[in-house]
């Protein structure tokens, strides 16, 4: 997978430079020459991130077991958070220059991990309460809607964000359009920090993702309306015709001549440029192989197959193509294309050296991604594989960060990265553990011991149970 620096958009869409500049984080841009080869766009970055890190004290966490998110483990370690960044990770306090005024958190018996990242969420675009008025995840009126952006559906008052934070230690998440369409539109990556606006939650400098879907859903939704696609072969035909149009649009755009903007085509051209990352809902192994060939035909890259319950059948192919699989631990049987799901899927992928990510697609399991990883690890161990806890932690941290193009900024406890950190009250691979504290960009935004550090969305304020432990 191409990791396009910190601000993908700068590579191809000059307008998006503003998004990076406004985002509050540094956005190195190493491809200005490429950008300048294209017609200068007159539009400013639309819907730019206005997220600003909240204030955080210099904090040192001592005595905890550290999973660094990249496969490292330190017993009785030290983590220093300063100015919103990871400022030190070490095995001994003497190895770090700790300021005298640092707040010390005693982590004895506890565990520190990077903030957990969910690569597949519908918080905000299918928020709770799950009433019809909130069904904003699928623009199910055309099999290809590359022109829609999930962020325009996100309701920043979804109570689910608070549960994901407090119970799941989720600090970043990708909110995607649904899977009714072959091309569902752009995703948005958020910091899990409540804001009055979606822009105030947008992860600064995160690339956009593009949601695609294989299989049953698109052909069912449109076939039942008496239109194409009604079959899997129809799925591919519609996709390929659309990619041809996107190639033509890109050619026109790059020609230097006048052209009429088309926001759907802009997104598809962004995919062809390699700047917008494809997240493809695809259950069956044979279909993933078809998608990989389609991507080669049109010259784009699939970042991640989502709900890839049959990835274990083609782990070698996925590794060779450098594609991640985002999977559940053990969901199965709810639909035909989920019939061959097995609990060892993640472990088999990991064992083959293919990129493995555990995702939720669910407002409940996003609160327990650590437990889902624990089950997947245990199932692998039972079939004889060696999987360490520190290795399995990558499924929730650096791997999703890479697949979302934010791994230079977050996803592991490395000096200089965002201080997105969870302190767990026990081993996060145990059912008996929960987050004790969660920091996002160094700000303490959840503290189990302090009800003032537990967010309550507007929707829940003044309702029965408002502010409860949940």
């Amino acid at each position: 997978m191409r990791v396009p620096g910190l601000c993908f958009a700068a590579l191809a869409l000059p307008m998006a430079l503003m998004a990076c500049a406004n985002g509050g984080n540094e956005a190195p841009n190493s491809a200005s020459s490429k950008a300048s080869s294209k017609p200068a766009a007159k539009v400013v970055a639309p819907f730019a991130s206005t997220y600003k890190a909240y204030p955080g004290a210099v904090t040192v966490i001592r005595g905890a077991t550290i999973f660094d998110g990249e496969g490292g483990r330190i017993e009785n370690g030290v983590v220093l958070l300063r100015d919103g960044k990871i400022a030190g990770v070490a095995g001994a306090i003497t190895d770090i220059d700790v300021p005298a005024d640092a707040i010390t958190v005693d982590g004895a018996g506890m565990f520190v991990t990077p903030g957990i990242i969910d690569i597949h969420s519908h918080l905000g675009d299918y928020p709770t309460p799950s009433v019809a008025a909130h069904d904003d995840g699928n623009e199910a009126t055309s099999p290809t809607t590359p022109e829609v952006w999930a962020e325009h559906s996100v309701w920043p008052q979804d109570p689910g964000f608070s549960r994901a934070l407090a119970n799941g230690g989720i600090t970043s998440l990708q909110v995607l359009p649904g899977s009714a369409n072959l091309m569902g539109g752009r995703s948005v990556t958020l910091k899990n920090v409540y804001s009055r606006t979606v822009q105030g939650m947008k992860f600064p400098g995160a690339p956009y993702g593009f949601k695609m879907a294989c299989g049953e859903n698109p052909k069912r939704v449109y076939g039942s309306k008496g239109r194409m696609p009604s079959t899997r072969m129809g799925n591919y035909a519609v996709n390929r015709q659309t990619w041809i149009k996107a190639q033509e649009y890109k050619k026109k755009r790059d020609s230097g001549k006048e052209f009429t903007r088309d926001i759907g085509m802009e997104t598809l051209a962004g995919v062809l440029d390699g700047d917008i990352l494809v997240h493809n809902h695809c259950y069956r192994a044979d279909e993933m192989a078809q998608v990989l060939d389609m991507a080669k035909e049109f010259g784009y890259k699939v970042s991640t197959f989502h709900h890839a319950v049959e990835s274990y059948k083609i782990a070698d192919l996925l590794k060779a193509n450098d594609v991640c699989s985002a999977v559940w631990a053990d969901w199965w049987g709810f639909k035909m294309e989920a019939y061959d799901a097995i609990p060892e899927n993640a472990a088999l992928l990991n064992n083959a050296g293919a990129c493995t990510v555990i995702h939720s697609d669910d407002e409940n399991q996003i609160q327990r991604l650590n437990q889902e990883a624990a089950k997947a690890m245990a199932d692998g161990r039972r079939m004889g594989m060696t999987i360490t806890e520190e290795d399995a932690m990558r499924w929730l941290t650096i791997n999703p960060a890479k697949a979302m193009g934010i791994d230079k900024m977050t996803g592991s406890l490395k000096v200089g990265k965002m201080a997105d950190v969870v302190l767990w009250n026990g081993n996060p691979f145990s059912v008996y553990s929960r987050p004790a504290k969660v920091w996002i960009d160094g700000a303490l935004l959840y503290d189990s011991a302090d009800s003032a550090r537990r967010p309550v969305s507007d929707f829940e304020l003044g309702q029965p149970g408002s502010g409860d432990v949940k």
Partner: protein
Amino acid sequence: MKRLFLTACAFAALTAPASAETIAITGGKLIVGDGSDPVDGGIVVIRDGNIISAGSNIAIPAGATVIDAAGKWVTPGIFAGFSRLGLAEVDAVDGTNDKSGGRSGFSAGIDIAPAIDPFRTPIAVNRAAGVTRAVVAPEAGSNMFAGQGAIADLGNDGNAVTKARAFQFVEFGEEGAEKSGGSRSASHLTFRAMLREAQDYAAGRGTFDDLLLRAEDVKALLPVLRGETRLLVHVEAANDMLRIIELRRDFPELKLVFVGASEGWRVAGDIAAAGIPVIASALNDLPASFEQLAATQSNIGRMKNAGVKVAIGMIDDRDAHQLRYSAQYAGNLVSLSRVPRATGLSWNDAFAAITSVPADIMGVGERHGSLKAGRAADVVIWDGDPLELSSAAVSVYIDGILQPLDNRQARLRDRYRTPLEGVLPKAYEK
């Protein structure tokens, strides 16, 4: 499906029939399942499909086959408090999904028992995860009454039904209102009218209104009216629970059980005073609907502390496939005891909430849900703490019979242990 069927038959052929063999499981950490403390080095003696004795200082009968469970945990099998197990192979494939018979026009009369298929994959998969019995309920179709549910076992044999027509299931709250024409007042009226018709029928005044229900539906409500058959009521909101408690004044014989009950903690004192047990969803903590505004994972712990008899169930939560989550859910309630201001369950109570308590609530606690003399020998040996994510069932006995733990998922796993094809296609690896 042909292959699946043959595979299931192959398993059955390998299974020994119930025999008079006496088995003693020794040396493990014994969990009786009734909320009592674990017994290290406890012994369980099984004969003729039943528990003969369990505990410490148990004499091992002469000639018994001794199973050494040293270093392992020995528990009653998980009793899934609410499920649709055996009613669907693939939820979204209609031909395999027998949860609802709504289009038939029948309601309370529907008997789910013949639809519970012991050869369906979810039975084998959940058996391998230590689930041995389940409450199996139909889904509501033509009106708020879903029909008669059953208690089932997950044994590898041709008959899953332990107790047919074990309860009637009815939807109240938002779902009940929707099934009744669009309002809660309509669902209360429907409920009263149908029970009154059943009373009339029983009293020989038998001109039941066939617009509301058919004779088979009326007949099924008679034992409910008499309190002989439990009435499981799906209800989530605090107000809906209070109104149902009131409604029972007019039908005092009803033996009610609440299912779901996300806001139960708000009216826990009333539920306890009414003596209504609850099969609750363990981890609902979102306002998924307006009837669940106050949902919290502390719900079960708070209800229990208020004196409510409460078990864990999984209504509408992957309830045809993932009953193996029961142990994980119970473990999560234990984790709450270490979260400030939250209310969880002790380990002993959490394990009871997925074994003896649901069995007691369903009226079969004398036969199921715990390792006590006289109970059916549903025994699971685990390689560790059964509530912990790293643990697995290593041996499962149902009615004293050692069960196969193989299943379709395990076969797929083994076939693709290495994904590359060998000298022949994967289809030749069996």
